[in-house]
């Protein structure tokens, strides 16, 4: 299967490579750029990135499999990440996560990211999002939300077209 890179992404990748004296260092930023475009990083994207950075594909695969934010399969159009760690847990993060799962027909006790059957939402617990003073906090794609009540959670879901 071929992997076609749109011109804007190709230009972004070329620019990113100039930020480092050693090409390999650009790999994480290039993977971010690819994921932003396609939503996940396919095996073809791994091969393409490796060729671009003059590396064996394993050098890309090994980081893809390490970092939780990088995805090896397509995820929902909207990715809901609920902070799980202590301050948020004290502030009701588990109840919030349960609320999302119940609302979207997912199993709150299952480990790892879960996607709704229609592919619209992915819900997962993540570790500390560094906003402990406004617990519970969450992200929906790149947007960040603080002090999320169940009502606010409903509004966030309703605000996803």
């Amino acid at each position: 299967m071929s992997f076609t890179v749109p011109a804007n992404l190709a230009a972004e990748v070329d620019e990113l490579i100039t930020h480092y004296p050693v090409k390999r260092a650009a790999s994480l930023m290039v993977l971010h750029a690819i994921q932003e475009q396609f939503g996940w990083i396919s095996p073809e994207a791994v091969e393409w990135t490796a060729a671009k950075l003059e590396l064996p594909p394993i050098n890309i695969l090994e980081i893809l499999t390490f970092y939780p934010m990088l995805r090896q399969q397509p995820m929902g159009k909207y990715q809901i990440k609920v902070c799980r760690t202590l301050s948020c847990a004290l502030g009701g993060a588990y109840e919030l996560h349960h609320h999302f799962c119940a609302k979207l027909g997912l199993d709150a006790h299952k480990h790892g990211p879960q996607t709704t059957a229609d592919g619209k939402f992915t819900v997962e617990f993540v570790e500390c999002l560094a906003s402990c003073g406004t617990a519970p906090v969450m992200m929906c794609n790149d947007a960040f939300y603080e002090g999320v009540s169940h009502k606010k959670a409903d509004d966030i879901v309703a605000g996803c077209p």
């Binding site: 050693v22 260092a25 994480l28 390490f66 934010m69 760690t85 500390c128 560094a130 402990c132 617990a135």
Partner: protein, 476 residues
């Protein structure tokens, strides 16, 4: 009375203050940089000359600035370790991988006042002959990354960055590098590996001290966001004046992140050591006390890795008496001055200056289970004691939290925790995952034992009447 003292966050929360460069310049921005670049070589009594760079480095030493990331190591000393004779380029990395549970101070700086960080970085780079620097920001802060990228472009357009900065002949380039959700990237050698495009496996020290063998095996300085901001203020006010803020050996200000069960969680900048733990939690200017009708149970004083303090604990604190003699004074945990040294004397640390407050509604076993899940998830897996130990502790604690405790679990947990740190792992994550377990179980042992005993008794009853065995919801 303890007061907030806003040095780093002076403008961040003012109405109308925006993160763009024009607003920063209107508030006196980049004057510190101009001052630094205008410093002239100084003649020393022995006939030698002290370069402007050496003068700034000396001033940072005089300021007493200690790292704001967690370890509290002297910034001036860290800079003095940099190998300047190797002929290799020197790099500077801002550690913006803020991810120690409880900590949310760097987020405020980067989102609200990014140019303060950039100015602090440019001065630090100039002082250390750095020509290429990176801001390593955690992946979960896409908004912060965008703000910083925009701010760097603005600084470049005004020639605060790039070639021949402000006509001085000094060149510096700076880029944003994003992480991707791994706590271990906050460990400086893990961060360096991550920046190089590898798995963020921390490097063993010696020999890989970043000051000598860092990024691409070149001398490298890794400083926290807040630390680098302080450099700008040290240059502006002078190291000696900076050292007047705070308390001896604990100079300057710190932004304290306060979270958990207090009325007013938030971030509060104080002179280091000028407020006590109790004041930070109870004073109406800070935490405003616990929720009505609740009593204090425990405090995590410096990020989730720091050892927990139990309500009512007393410590012997070194103090000077009227005649200057050192005496030991019994001090309640709430009366500990919030600084590096007092908390160290209490057997814990101020770490990333993040306080998590727990009241008497909290189940201490579940609290530790929550933290241990974090560490089990975040161990990079490189060293066996940490990779396996963090998982074992988490499995035992999840079992306990789900009603399957055993009377011997408390001892079992401490036994594992005691066998992870102390040079058995490459990095300090081994300590970080063990300290909470050692301190929680050590200080609340009766609660861990009681839970185990109760669970065993309940199970014994269930075995006697097998029809009543129930699947526990949520057990992993």
């Amino acid at each position: 009375m303890p007061q907030e003292y806003k040095l780093i966050l002076k403008h961040a929360d003012e109405p109308g203050y925006t993160p763009d460069i024009d607003c920063y310049l209107r508030h006196g921005g980049y004057e510190g940089l101009k001052k630094a670049l205008a410093i002239q070589p100084k003649d020393l009594p022995d006939g030698k000359k002290m370069s402007p760079q050496e003068q700034i480095r000396e001033d940072v030493k005089v300021s007493g600035l200690r790292g704001r990331g967690g370890a509290g190591f002297s910034c001036g000393l860290k800079w003095s370790f940099v190998d300047r004779r190797s002929g290799k380029p020197i790099y500077l990395i801002c550690n913006a991988d803020e991810s120690e549970p409880g900590t949310f101070k760097d987020r405020q700086i980067m989102h609200k006042d990014p140019h303060q960080l950039i100015e602090g970085m440019i001065i630090s780079c100039f002082a250390n002959d750095v020509h290429l620097a990176y801001i390593y920001i955690r992946g979960e802060m896409p908004e912060g990354a965008k703000i910083l990228i925009k701010a760097l472009a603005e600084a470049r357009a005004k020639n605060f960055l790039g070639k021949n900065i402000l006509g001085t002949g000094y060149d510096l380039e700076m880029y944003v590098h994003r992480g991707a959700g791994a706590y271990i990237c906050g460990e400086e050698t893990g961060l360096i590996e991550s920046l190089e495009g590898k798995r963020p496996y921390p490097r063993i020290k010696p020999p890989y001290f970043p000051a000598v063998l860092g990024l691409w095996m070149c001398p490298t300085i890794v400083n926290n966001v807040e630390t680098l901001c302080n450099v700008k203020h040290i240059v502006e006010m002078g190291g000696a004046n900076f050292a007047k803020l705070g308390t001896p050996n604990n100079t300057g200000t710190r932004i304290v992140s306060l979270s958990g069960q207090v009325k007013r969680p938030g971030y509060y900048e104080i002179e280091v050591g000028k407020a006590t733990l109790g004041e930070l939690i109870n004073d109406p200017k800070f935490g405003g006390g616990l929720r009505d009708g609740r009593k204090l149970k425990a405090i995590i004083p410096g990020g989730s890795s720091s050892k927990v303090l139990k309500a009512g604990e007393k410590f012997k604190l070194k103090k000077k008496d009227a005649e200057g003699r050192e005496v030991l004074v019994e001090t309640d945990m709430l009366d500990l001055p919030y600084d590096f040294d007092s908390l160290a004397q209490a057997g814990t640390m101020s770490g990333s200056s993040a306080i998590i407050v727990m009241d008497d509604s909290v189940d201490i076993v579940e609290t530790l289970a929550n933290l241990s899940e974090f560490y089990a998830h975040e161990s990079c897996g490189q060293c066996t004691p940490c990779r396996e130990g963090a998982l074992w502790m988490n499995k035992a604690l999840q079992r306990m939290a789900h009603g399957q405790g055993r009377a011997g679990d408390a001892d079992y947990l401490v036994k594992i925790a005691d066998n992870i740190p102390g040079g058995r792992t490459i990095c300090a994550f081994g300590e970080a995952c063990s300290w909470p377990v050692q301190s929680f179980v050590g200080k609340f042992k009766d609660e861990f034992v009681a839970k185990g005993v109760a669970d065993e008794a309940r199970r014994a009853k269930e075995v006697a009447a097998p029809g009543e065995i129930k699947q526990l919801a949520g057990a992993h």
